[in-house]
Symmetry: D3
Subunit: 238 residues, 6 copies
């Protein structure tokens, strides 16, 4: 089976692979507090799990994961290591530009972290690229964006960061460093306020109910994400 | 009655007013295509209408409206005049910094335009300000963010840009330059794709059904927005 | 009569208007201390008054006024809200670029504020634009630049900010919020010094003698400015 | 044994670990052509191998590897994906700043790639940090900087990129995706010239003689690097 | 006699000299077309001549001349080598900052070139510095700003770039590379237009009448400038 | 003999000279501590001496020297006046761009200062230029880079900044302001550490042994540098 991870390819293998007009996947992770029960690299582990499987089903090249993102609401917790908005945007801008230089014309930027600023940084980079390169097909999303469509199990609407779905996924993906979590938190944010200390709204570092998480549920969510991604890519990037 | 618009105050009136720790309101508009039936300055007219009334009910100072925003999906239509993301962010950063210099400690940045990039540009400026000035209370939102909560009439869930709600509001606010609109468009966007030409998804420039708009409905929506804003501000900025 | 303010046009009206190769006017105001007798938005009111009448006499489209500028000597007074030099330049750069995108080839950037830095920020943006777009005809000035040529009445040579001419114009334009002013100040600046506190040279916030102002004089000055602008535009932008 | 990789720690584990004033290690890799016999991620694999072992011998926390660098001489080969100088510097600046925010006071930035620009980008970030934070102890180097000191075997002085030493190391570290290499290249660069096409000096993508590489030699070099690093860190960062 | 040029001092001499709180002079020149009769470095030669004599009369340290400036109207002539506005501003910002670091508290930035953009770049740097360092006394001017006050001989009001006064000065300062000039040009600029090709208004590269220049006049102008500078500095920087 | 210094040429002479496709030389100096025995402008004096003689032997135009550089290890000594990395890079970028605009296609950027950051700033500017202008031939080096090849006398390998070779050169070039130096310093830097206070490693400001310097040696080194430069330029820039 041919290699899918660009970092494992030689220059010749890369050149050959690019000739097939593959989907070039850029995974984006994060170093971010995820409660006391999940690791700081949760978003990285999730996106790498998904992308690994995705690349098996498509003609794809996987670029090395950017393991840092822009983190806002968890900023003040121990362990969050955030890039600035501009740095993250520059990374995406540079890498898209390099993919275009190597004649890539189909790209997927997929992020394990789904913060509002973070996603806009990635999208701005992609928007500027398509304005200059109208033949570039590029999709930008977080795998987390797909979770609300998962209806096979009852996940509270307010479940989110380090909650039931995310904890389940991590129990599936990295059970060695993930636990169920002991408390639920439903943060009640003062609407539209820009706070210097959003962490006081969820001192547990959790937004959701990770007590109900299970590896089985995680596995089903991961499968669901994978199926949805494959369908969307087949529809839009082909 | 004391003046509320800063541009109409003398330096002495401004100084006096600032001593009362007023809510300093920065309205943000846009120059953006809004179908064939609404004017390019729709977002500006809307936000100025709301802010004018809001300032009557609160201890507030209204700064001059920034009449340009960052526009993405309507970018390629005639009449859209968009600032870059960085320019918009710099404007907000500069003005917040000036308000802080004049000892303002309560701010509302309210935008008539609700684009994703646009709102993040404003929020980033506010986030950086609160990190440096922890006693600054600042709220950033689009008046449009409040419309989905309006349940007194049946507005389609997919109604949006230049649609039923927005057209109704403009029929209430500027009937002289607004019309009902002759067609509905429900754009079907390829999920998560970053397109060079999003306008092809809604060639009418409309996302929604402006045929059902009415000034009465607009008036009720505007009243609803106003009530919600007053309540939120009283709760969070006091 | 066709509309002249772009914000009141629909996208279709804008497109039609642009086909006539109109003069696209970008008015720039300011939020700046103007003594105790004039409002902070003086520069905005003045430029909008002029531009409104100008657009009646020419094939012109008026863009929304940028109501903030870069203010240096009045910086430390209450009420001055200044953009940074770079922000102002970016605004002008972005808007010129958008006008070019919509095929505008004749532009007038006219500012109510005439500060040295402020005007250079606008001119730099225009200079970079003409280097890249040699068919762009663009004029950049402050309406204030024309006042010294007004010889119908005796205005002291040292009259300036919030002085006799400016106060007269405001008594003509916005008598409801303008007064004559009670004192004259002839600031004596230490030549070529860059001061942290230039306001100490004119604690009144006035440079000139607003005691002699009158609405009649203001009206004549405004008419003079208008005639000069029309003549210059006919000569240079046609 | 406590975890050493920050991405595998929970927020609580991270907080505890930081209290011990550990050496915070930031590994920097690259995506860069390395001949036909080595993978594009060679610099990443090398630095991760070293850092993993290093962290076993010291009180250290390993941050996620930045898997991209700034690549100049290999820029035009297939597979090189280079960040701009400014992006790389911003990444290092942001992460150092975050480590300082979390009270880290001992840092090692170690890069698998040793390009001149690349290393200066990292050093500039560190230099600015120490000027602002005089109690920060920080070391910045490439593991490659230590290879010339290795005298246990005869490595040609001109051996470098993808050559005898680097290939040997990769045969030790990732034998599954590395091969010996079939040709030697001793590039003869026109002194001090800045070329648009430096790749023409070594069309093989190799600077050195990878034909003589062996996993045994690689193992000895890696051990040597490790010993040297431990010694330097004990001496300078304690 | 103690040295006045910083570049000729040793570190110890510099430290001693700085203890006397000298006036630190930063001369700014330019590389700019000056007709067919004057050299490209005219502004540099002029400012260095003045500064050299100035330093003999004051307690001053002269920094090395920045021999490039921002040139706008002469941009398209052969020989003009212009820095961008931002580069020039950065140079001034950096050097002011360094002077402050070495405890300099009195500065004169004097430019041989007097272009509008150019002077604002220098002033902006100084303005930002005084806002942060209120004990810094700094003067920014062009020696050319003082020429209009010279009334001992009849110089046409419209005389300027490479004209009667400047040519006279150069005949005094560098007679070996300066000539009288053979033609007068009185450029008639379309008012307030921003032109891509301002050089067409004065194809000779001259604005003024260099036919009437003489070394005697130049000597008197230079003496006048020197006296005025000494007086201003004594008054304002002491 | 035709002029070689661009600042002494008229616009017409410059235009003529450029038609011959000369080597355009940009000398870069520095303001930097050089012990108690050498002047702060040592790097400037050295590079100007070399460039002056170089231009006599080649078809060359010499641009004005940039007399400031980026200085890192000497930063905290009295007299060092350092530009930031970005400012220095911008200067080089701007000037290269101007040379290209005037149709220069052969360039030499030669620096008297050889700091690591400093040289990379210059090289980055040149690298970006050649990527955009593949017909530009450009060489970037420090004259100091050539000294280690000088084998006619025994200079200690660790000799460097203000040491035997540099002091000898200055005794040759500017004996009026240079002395032999009274002490040798062999700094022992903690390897790869980024220090806030590198000056503590060589409190004399010297790295080397200037006690053994002589003008004769300096003259021979300068001749050697000159010969090497001429040879390299003939080989690579013709």
């Amino acid at each position: 089976m041919p290699r899918k991870h660009a970092k494992e390819m030689s220059k010749d293998e890369f050149r050959s692979a690019m000739k097939e007009n593959p989907i070039v996947i850029l995974p984006i992770g994060a170093m971010e507090e995820h409660g006391s029960h999940l690791p700081l690299g949760t978003d990285t582990f999730e996106v790498e799990y998904v992308v690994d499987r995705l690349a098996d089903r498509l003609n794809a090249i996987v670029l090395p994961t950017v393991p840092y993102g822009e983190c806002r609401s968890t900023y003040n917790f121990p362990g969050t290591i955030s890039l600035s908005f501009d740095t993250l945007k520059s990374i995406a801008t540079d890498i898209i530009s390099e993919v275009l230089r190597h004649k890539g014309r189909r790209m997927l930027i997929i992020s394990g972290h789904a913060g509002g600023n973070h996603m806009v940084a990635l999208k701005l980079a992609a928007q500027e690229a398509v304005r200059q390169n109208r033949d570039l097909k590029i999709m930008v999303l977080s795998d987390y964006d797909l979770v609300p469509d998962f209806k096979e199990a009852k996940i509270p609407e307010w479940d989110g960061h380090a909650g039931m779905a995310e904890t389940s996924r991590m129990l599936n993906i990295r059970p060695d460093i993930s636990r169920k979590g002991r408390q639920a938190t439903k943060p009640k944010s003062p609407e539209h306020m820009i706070l210097p200390d959003p962490e006081r709204l969820f001192p547990s570092g959790i937004m959701g109910d990770p007590r109900k998480a299970s590896p089985e549920l995680g596995s089903r969510i991961d499968d669901f994400i994978l199926r949805r991604l494959v369908a969307m890519i087949r529809k839009n990037l082909d």
